[in-house]
C-alpha cells in the first residue's frame, strides 16, 4: 500500500519521515494541495457503481485503490499556488482533492474532520478534563467583568491566543503573557479572550503521540519563564519517561479526539505534576527529534506504512517504561 503526504516542499520535518519511508521501501507520493492544478494532476472516476482515482506529481502516480494512509502534515490551501488563484478555484480544488481522498479506504494522520475539532482550545480543555489530565482553571470570554473576576480570583493569570498570531501579519508574535488583576480588561469586549491560571513551572514537557507510541521530552525552564517557545533557557530538550497516569490520560484523549498524531504541551510544576496546556494535532516534532534522538519520524513512517494500528501502548523515554 502507498502513502500520501500532503505538505509544502520546504517542510524539512516531513523530509525526516520521507527518508524513513525510502529506507523502508514504502511507496509514497508527496504533494502540496496548493500545487493543484498546475503541478498536481488529479482524476477521480465514479462510474458503474465503482470509484477509482489517481494523483500525479513529481513524476509519481498514486492510485486511490492502492492508497493505505494519508499524512496531513503542512498542506497549503488547495490551488493557492495556481497561476490564477481565486476563492472559487480553491473551493473547487478542495472538493476534487479531499472528496476523492475521503472516498478512498485510507487511514489518516489526522483526518481533517477530527483535526478541525481538535484545534479548538475550549474543546481541548473539556476533553483534557474528561481524560483525567490536570488542567489549570481557564476562562474564554468577551465579558470584561468576568475576565476581571477571574484574574482577581487567581491573581496571576496568563493571556494567550487560541489561534496564534494574526494571519497575514508576520511581524507579530503572541507569546503567552503573565498579567495581574490590575490590568485594564475593557478591551476583552473587543474579542474573545483566553485567560488561564498561571502555573509556576520548573520545566516544559512536549509529549508526542504517534499511534500507540509516546515520546516525551523535558526542558528545564528559566526562572519565571512563561512561554517555553520564546527565550533561550540555556537548557536542552531531554528524553523523559511518561508517568503511567499521564500515559492513560493520553490514551483517553486521543481516543476521544480521534487522533493518530498529537503533540501535547505540559507545564511541570514544583511537585512534578504535568499540567495540560494544549494539544497540537499537527505539532512540530523535528526539533525534539534532532535534540533528543527520540525516533519520532521512524514511528510516523511505520504508522503510515502499516495497514492496521499497533495493538498496544509503547512508551518511549530516556529509560523506557
Amino acid at each position: 500500500m502507498s502513502v500520501l503526504i500532503l505538505t509544502s516542499e520546504e517542510d524539512v520535518t516531513a523530509d525526516m519521515v520521507v527518508a524513513e519511508l525510502h529506507a523502508m521501501g514504502t511507496p509514497f507520493l508527496r504533494l502540496d494541495p496548493a500545487d493543484v492544478p498546475d503541478k498536481v494532476v488529479l482524476s477521480a472516476h465514479y462510474a458503474h457503481g465503482d470509484f477509482d482515482g489517481h494523483l500525479s506529481a513529481n513524476g509519481q502516480v498514486l492510485s486511490m485503490e492502492g492508497l493505505g494512509a494519508v499524512w496531513m502534515r503542512r498542506p497549503g490551501e488547495p490551488a493557492a499556488n495556481a497561476a490564477h488563484p481565486s476563492p472559487w478555484l480553491t473551493a473547487e480544488a478542495r472538493q476534487a482533492l479531499f472528496g476523492m481522498l475521503f472516498a478512498a479506504n485510507a487511514r489518516w494522520m489526522n483526518h481533517p474532520r477530527n483535526a478541525d475539532r481538535a484545534r479548538l482550545k475550549p474543546w481541548q480543555l473539556r476533553v483534557a478534563h474528561l481524560s483525567g489530565f490536570a488542567v489549570p482553571p481557564t476562562v474564554f470570554t468577551t465579558a470584561p467583568r468576568l475576565a476581571r473576576q477571574f484574574a482577581e480570583e487567581h491573581r496571576e493569570v496568563v493571556v494567550k491566543s487560541a489561534s496564534g498570531p494574526p494571519p497575514g501579519d508576520p511581524g507579530l508574535s503572541l507569546p503567552t503573557t503573565l498579567i495581574g488583576p490590575d490590568a485594564d480588561f475593557s478591551a476583552v469586549a473587543a474579542g474573545p479572550t483566553l485567560l488561564q491560571r498561571y502555573v509556576p513551572k520548573r520545566a516544559d514537557i512536549r509529549l508526542t503521540c504517534v499511534g500507540s507510541r509516546l515520546f516525551a521530552a523535558r526542558k528545564t525552564a528559566a526562572p519565571d519563564q512563561v512561554d517555553g517557545r520564546y527565550g533561550d533557557t540555556e537548557h536542552a530538550w531531554e528524553p523523559v519517561p511518561v508517568p503511567e497516569r499521564v500515559s492513560k490520560s493520553v490514551d483517553a484523549y486521543v481516543a476521544l479526539a480521534g487522533l493518530a498524531y498529537a503533540a501535547f504541551d505540559f507545564a511541570e510544576d514544583e511537585d512534578g505534576i504535568w499540567w495540560f496546556l494544549e494539544c497540537n494535532q499537527g505539532g512540530q516534532f523535528g526539533f525534539i527529534e534532532l535534540e533528543t534522538g527520540l525516533p519520532i519520524a521512524a514511528a510516523v513512517a511505520l504508522w503510515l506504512s502499516q495497514r492496521k494500528p499497533l495493538g498496544h501502548r509503547q512508551v518511549e523515554g530516556a529509560w523506557g517504561a
Binding site: 507520493l29 489561534s163 498570531p165 478591551a187
Partner: protein, 63 residues
C-alpha cells in the same frame, strides 16, 4: 477597540531565512548543494531553525 489579547503582541524581528537546501522532486525531499538529503545534516537543520515549534506559526497555528 483593539482586542485585549493583541495588547500583548510583540513585534518580531524577521530575519530573511535562506535555506541551504532545495526540493528535489525525484527524491521528494530537500537536498543540499552536494546532493545529500538535508536531513543527513541535523546540526544544519537545528541552525536553520525550520523544525522548531514556532517555525510554522505564521501559516499553521498548531505547532
Amino acid at each position: 477597540m483593539r482586542p485585549f489579547t493583541l495588547n500583548y503582541a510583540l513585534p518580531t524581528r524577521l530575519q530573511p531565512v535562506v535555506t541551504p537546501y532545495h526540493f528535489d522532486a525525484s527524491l521528494q525531499l530537500n537536498v543540499l548543494s552536494d546532493g545529500r538529503p538535508a536531513v543527513s545534516d541535523p546540526e544544519l537543520l537545528m541552525a536553520v531553525g525550520t523544525t522548531t515549534s514556532t517555525a510554522g506559526s505564521q501559516t499553521h497555528f498548531d505547532d
